[in-house]
Every structure is written in structure tokens, then in C-alpha cells.
Symmetry: C2
Subunit: 414 residues, 2 copies
């Protein structure tokens, strides 16, 4: 039997046991995992060093090597994540939408784990730990397939997690990692409908598109964010500059960062010079449409810019004649992540939130708030940009489903 | 441009208009559609007659021809469906999970339509009307692809629906039907991610499997139901026979009909003779396991029986040694639709509902209740047997999604 099928079978079996565990047992396990991470810190760092050296030797891009690196701070981040997840409420078992029929049949929904979650991810080894503890806490087992560049780090982290599991009542096979780095394995994994209930791809657009195209297992699409801010003519100039600055520079490599700012023509001359000064102080490269170039001296934006998630200190700016043009631009180029309108006009604010259909639609706030922590979920598995099942930050509740429970008294249908 | 792409583009555009319509406008439209169905009854019946004659000439199975036939009663059923859907609450626009952050940011979810729903269905032409009005009421446009056997009926119904749309403010292109009966079109439709938000296959296992395997658009799997009833040793004999009779014979062609009854060995001798008498009175063919054959004289069940959705007056029976054996049998053969335990033992009832992970899990009731009408949803698009997005009956609410709305006061993230 292949490694994939063998592990998928083990994990599906373990899923039946994990489903019966209560929150106290799951929390104890996550605490044991945190202890083992702390104890095995040097081992994990040593194995990670192998991956980093290999990556540097292969000439991997600096930003990718940086994602791969573990250090004291990142290990501490993993331990902190365990503590955060322990303190979150277990969503499993909640009874909701309950009602009593005239014939005495009591119908309700109960929240249950999805079952087995498959995670396909790229270079960040801390995903190995974070995805595992979020899955465990929500009662799901997890089959991991990390990038080949991080294989030594991932194997070390999984080994450490399993040491923690050994000290609990939860079987070791609630988590497995595919060690075979052959790319064909991903394709096979995407079609394991009998063993995997949900696939979550975490990584760049290429990975996500490949998964969506080839999976027969249901997919939760996360991540790509071409986010927009529309500055309406009634917006406050200074506060708008503060928001654009925050949305672009607070952490430019994240998916909720603004990539394109749309500016109403009647406010363009008032806001652009100040905006340019502020962004250039923060080393942001501006790319403007033709109308923008008539007001400030910046690089020219091309069609390609409207389609690009920079994940970098670059911002494209387009001047629009009216709110409808802004809405149409967003409908054309948005990835359905986060969009914001800055305005003091009531009807324009309402029009924007009614017509823009993205996971998060803002009035007068930075797009940077789209985040599980900021939205009160505590932690997240990613940001869903699809409409099915869950939209926006994917927390513990979004990793569950429900089933109907019906309590009868020997009832038959008339 | 192909018919498919042309209609997909039109429908996506119409979707933007439909999303802005309120319940009053949508209800008026459905009322106009009902009026036109009534007015054009003879035309629809005449076109349907063409399909029926062709089907008979082709030698189609009698049960399939029966599904295809429209008559006065079925046309009245379509008109009644319009009235039912008009009276349902519009789920769109509901604000929920709202909270106010310490910094004054108000975060909430608002229920919104999915967008464009693609329906791929087989011979029943009344699905054309039912799928359309459920989609319209929930703010979704609908791209229909019916079976080639029903093409004349479906075209006539769509033409009639469009006459109703002409008398309302809602554009005609909120519904389109693919007239090209070439099978390759289905495959193309399954990959139209830029135009279709959700595909719902309605039909037999072959169709559903094909859609799941080939779609890149998200799919809502509906329908196939191998439902089980487990008669525990403590169950009341007479009431258990009433429930099995109801679950098998009340409407044997439906997906929530019981197909396999599992009986605890300690109650088998007491219940089987009476059960056999009752079912044979109702013309049900029983197929039993070896142990069953020692008690009653019936046909022998094979491995194939446990895997079969009969949709007919046939029932398979298996005697089990204990509840765990019943649970394992269900886990192995269930399609995740509906399962019921008949018992007076509290802990066995709890064990069953905790360990069985199907869309609907019953204690002491017939599986026939799994239905949008019975569960209080008013009407349904089918019964979901998948875990993502929606489980069990798919009503108006399940045809929607949500987006986050964030009301700020020029807030930036710290």
C-alpha cells in the first residue's frame, strides 16, 4: 500500500476516536504538544537548519527562505498558538435551530467535526503546528502535505507533536504527514473522497488554482487578496491617508493588505500629493493611472497592475468618475477578499456594501482588520475567498459542520 | 460564442440586478410565473406529449416515462409550489453574529445570495419550475441543463416562466436553459468557475458521481440515500413494525426511504414474523441475511444488497449481535442521508446519535421525515449528503451565503 493510502486509512480510523473526545481531553493534548515543542526546540531548529541550508544552496528567493526559517521567536509563536487555541471555546456539540413539532418530534441541529481535513501547504513550517492544533480542537484529524523545501522541519515538528500525543488519550494517528515529496502524491490526495472530507490549500495562487482544478474532494479556497479602498469625494483627507497608510504598510505581505486605491476625481487633487508624501516616507512605490499621473509624478500603472496581488510595498492608484466606476472596477478585479469605502455620504456607503460581494466589506476602516483574531475568532486556518460553507476568516466553528438530531416517540410520517 | 457561454454571461449580468430586488418584487414575479403556467397549461402539456411519445418510441423504462409525464395534477402542483414559495420568508438581508469591538468597529454578517446556481437534472420537467422559483426567491439566477428526454417540456416551461418575468421588473435572463443536448456541454458547464457559483446535480448516482468527479465549480451533492433503521433489543415490537412499514412503504421511490433494517439478535425472533406479514401485505420483497433466513422464509441478501438504494418495494434485513455491529454496518454502507435507532435504552440512544454521522440521525422515528417541508423549511432543492456548506434538506437559507459587514469610524489596525 502506498504511504498516502496507508496514512489516510489510519487517520480516518483515528477520526472516529477523536470525534468522541471532549474539550478537556483535547486541551490536555494540546498542552502536551506545547510542552514537547518547548522540550524539543533544539532538535526542531537543527532540522530546520538543514532545510534552510539546502534552500540557500538551491538559490531559493530570499523571501521564500525567510518563510522557511524557524528561530527562538517563531518556536515561541508556536507555543503561544497552543495556549491561544486551548483557551478558545470548543464549538463541537452545540445544539442550535431547535424546534418542537406539533406531533412531538423534536428537531435540532448539532455541531460536529468535518472529519478528516487535508492541508496542502508551501514553505512555512509553523503551519504544521497551527493547522494541527486548530484541527484537533475542532475534533478533526489532519493529513498534512507540506512543501518539499520544508520536509525536514515538518518531519521534526510532526515527530514532536506525536510525542505530545503519546502522553494523552488521543491516538497518534490523528495527524500524519506525507513524507514522499513526489508531486504526483498531491494529485492523488486531491481525489481521496473516501478518506478526506475537506482540502484546504495554503499558499500562492498557483497552488490554490491547481487544487481547485484537480480536486474531487471539497475544497476551501483561501488566501489570494487583491483588496481595494475607494476614497469617495466626501471622505476626510487626513483620516483617509491614515487608513491607506495602515492598509498598505502595517504588514504588506498579508492577504488583507490593500493593493489598489480608487479615488473619486473630485477629491483626487486634494488627497494625492499628501498621500504620495506619506507613502514615500514608508518606501511604498506608487503606480498610477493616466489621470493620477497628471497630478503626481509616479510610475505608470498598466492593466497588469489591477490584476496583481503585490504582497509588497507597492500600491496602484486609479482615479474614477463616480462610485459606479469604482464598484465596477472592484467587481472586475477583486478576488472577493476585502474592500473598503471611505465616505461621509450615507447613500454611497449603503450602495457600496449592498453591491460589493466580497468576504469582508468595510465602511471607513482599514482592510487589515480581516483576520480571525481581529474578528473575534481567536485564531484562523486562513481567509476563505469562496462563497460555499465559510467566508472570511476560518476559525474553529468554520472547521465544523452540523447534523440533524431528531428525538421521536415512535413517530411515523402521515 | 457558444450557447453555454452566451447564456452564462447573460445570467451573470442579470444576477447583479436580481441581488438588489426585495422580497415584494421577487414574490410578485413568482406570482406572475404561476399565472402564466396556468394560462399556458395546454401548451406545456402539448409539448410534454412530444417528449413522452419520443420516450415511449425509444423504449424508455416505464418508471422513467412516468417521471417525464406532466398532467393536470402535476401542473397544479407547479402552481401550488409557486404559492408555497411566495409565502416563505426571504432569507436575504438578515444581519447576524453582530458585535461591537472596543474600538467602536461594528462587525456583523449579512446573508446574501450565492449568485448563479447551475442545476443539472434528469427527466422530471417539474424540476425546471421548482428550481427556478427557489433560486429566484433566494436572490439567485439559475442556469438549467435538463435531460434530453424532457427537452420539449423544459423549453415550454422556460418560455412560460419568461412570459411571467416580462410582466415584472426582473430581467428575463435570471433563468436560462441550455437547449443544446450534446453531452459535452455538461462537462463545459462544470468548469465555468467565472460564471457559476454552485452546481447542484439532481438525479441518479451516475449523474451525481460524474458531476463530483468533473466539476471545478463547487458542488452541492444531493440525493442518494441508503437509509438504515436499527431495531435495538429494547424496542417496542408493534411500534417498530409501524415505523419500518412507514419508512419503507409510505413513498418507496424517495431518497429518505429505509433500504436496510438491522435487528438486534435478542429481538429478531419476536419481531421478524410480524414484520414479514406486514410487509408482505404491502407487497414488499424482503431479502435477509443468513441469520434472518433461520427465522423467516425470505430471499437471501447478498453483499450487493447492503450497497443498493432500491427506491422500490424491496427491503434488506440483517441481524446483528450488538449495537456496535449495527453502527459499523451503517458506517460502512450508509450514504450519509438518514438513519434511525428504535430503542428504549437511554445510553444506546445517545451512543447511536453520537457515533452515527449522517445528515439526519433519529431516535424512535421514521426516516421519512427528512424533507424540507417536514423540517420546517417550506420547500427544498434536494437533500444534501455532503458535509460542506449545508447538510440535509436544502431550503432557501441553504441557497445563500454571508459576507462580513464592518461599520467603522476611520479605524486603523494597531
Amino acid at each position: 500500500m502506498s504511504e498516502l493510502l496507508d496514512k489516510a486509512k489510519k487517520i480516518k480510523k483515528a477520526s472516529e476516536i477523536l470525534k468522541k473526545m471532549n474539550a478537556a481531553e483535547k486541551n490536555k493534548t494540546i498542552m502536551e504538544i506545547a510542552k514537547e515543542i518547548k522540550k524539543n526546540k533544539d532538535y526542531i531548529l537543527k532540522e530546520n537548519q538543514k532545510d534552510v541550508l539546502l534552500a540557500e544552496k538551491k538559490g531559493l528567493k530570499k523571501s521564500l527562505v525567510d518563510r522557511l526559517v524557524l528561530n527562538e521567536k517563531r518556536i515561541q509563536g508556536m507555543i503561544n498558538a497552543c495556549n491561544t487555541v486551548i483557551n478558545l471555546k470548543d464549538p463541537v456539540g452545540e445544539i442550535f435551530d431547535s424546534f418542537l413539532r406539533d406531533d412531538g418530534l423534536r428537531i435540532s441541529k448539532v455541531r460536529v467535526p468535518l472529519g478528516v481535513i487535508g492541508i496542502i501547504y508551501e514553505s512555512r513550517p509553523n503551519v504544521t503546528l497551527e493547522a494541527t492544533i486548530l484541527s484537533l480542537k475542532s475534533g478533526n484529524t489532519v493529513l498534512l502535505r507540506g512543501g518539499s523545501d520544508a520536509i525536514n522541519s515538518n518531519k521534526a515538528i510532526v515527530k514532536t507533536i506525536k510525542s505530545g500525543l503519546k502522553k494523552s488519550n488521543i491516538p497518534e494517528s490523528v495527524i500524519e504527514i506525507i513524507e514522499d515529496t513526489n508531486r504526483d502524491i498531491v494529485n492523488e490526495m486531491l481525489k481521496l473522497n473516501d478518506y478526506i472530507d475537506l482540502i484546504i490549500p495554503r499558499g500562492g495562487k498557483g497552488l490554490i488554482d491547481f487544487v481547485v482544478k484537480n480536486a474531487t474532494v471539497p475544497v476551501l479556497e483561501t488566501g489570494v487578496g487583491i483588496c481595494h479602498i475607494f476614497v469617495d469625494e466626501s471622505a476626510d483627507i487626513k483620516k483617509s491617508i491614515d487608513i491607506i497608510d495602515n492598509a498598505k504598510t502595517q504588514r504588506p505581505g498579508t492577504c488583507n493588505t490593500v493593493e489598489t486605491v480608487l479615488i473619486h476625481k473630485n477629491i483626487a487633487e486634494k488627497i494625492l500629493p499628501g498621500l504620495k508624501n506619506r507613502l514615500e516616507e514608508k518606501n511604498v512605490e506608487i503606480r498610477g493611472c493616466e489621470e493620477t499621473l497628471k497630478i503626481i509624478n509616479v510610475k505608470k500603472a498598466t492593466e497588469e497592475d489591477w490584476k496583481t496581488e503585490y504582497l509588497d510595498l507597492i500600491l496602484s492608484i486609479k482615479i474614477v468618475n463616480e462610485i459606479d466606476e469604482a464598484i465596477n472596477h472592484i467587481k472586475t478585479y477583486s478576488t472577493g477578499h476585502s474592500e473598503s469605502i471611505l465616505t461621509e455620504n450615507y447613500f454611497n456607503a449603503m450602495k457600496f456594501i449592498n453591491e460589493i460581494d466580497s468576504a469582508a466589506v468595510y465602511i471607513n476602516a482599514s482592510t487589515r482588520f480581516t483576520d480571525g483574531g481581529e474578528f473575534g475568532l481567536g485564531a484562523e486556518m486562513g481567509i476563505s475567498t469562496q462563497k460555499m460553507h465559510a467566508r472570511g476568516p476560518v476559525g474553529l466553528k468554520e472547521l465544523t459542520t452540523y447534523k440533524y438530531l431528531i428525538f421521536g416517540n415512535y413517530n411515523v410520517r402521515e
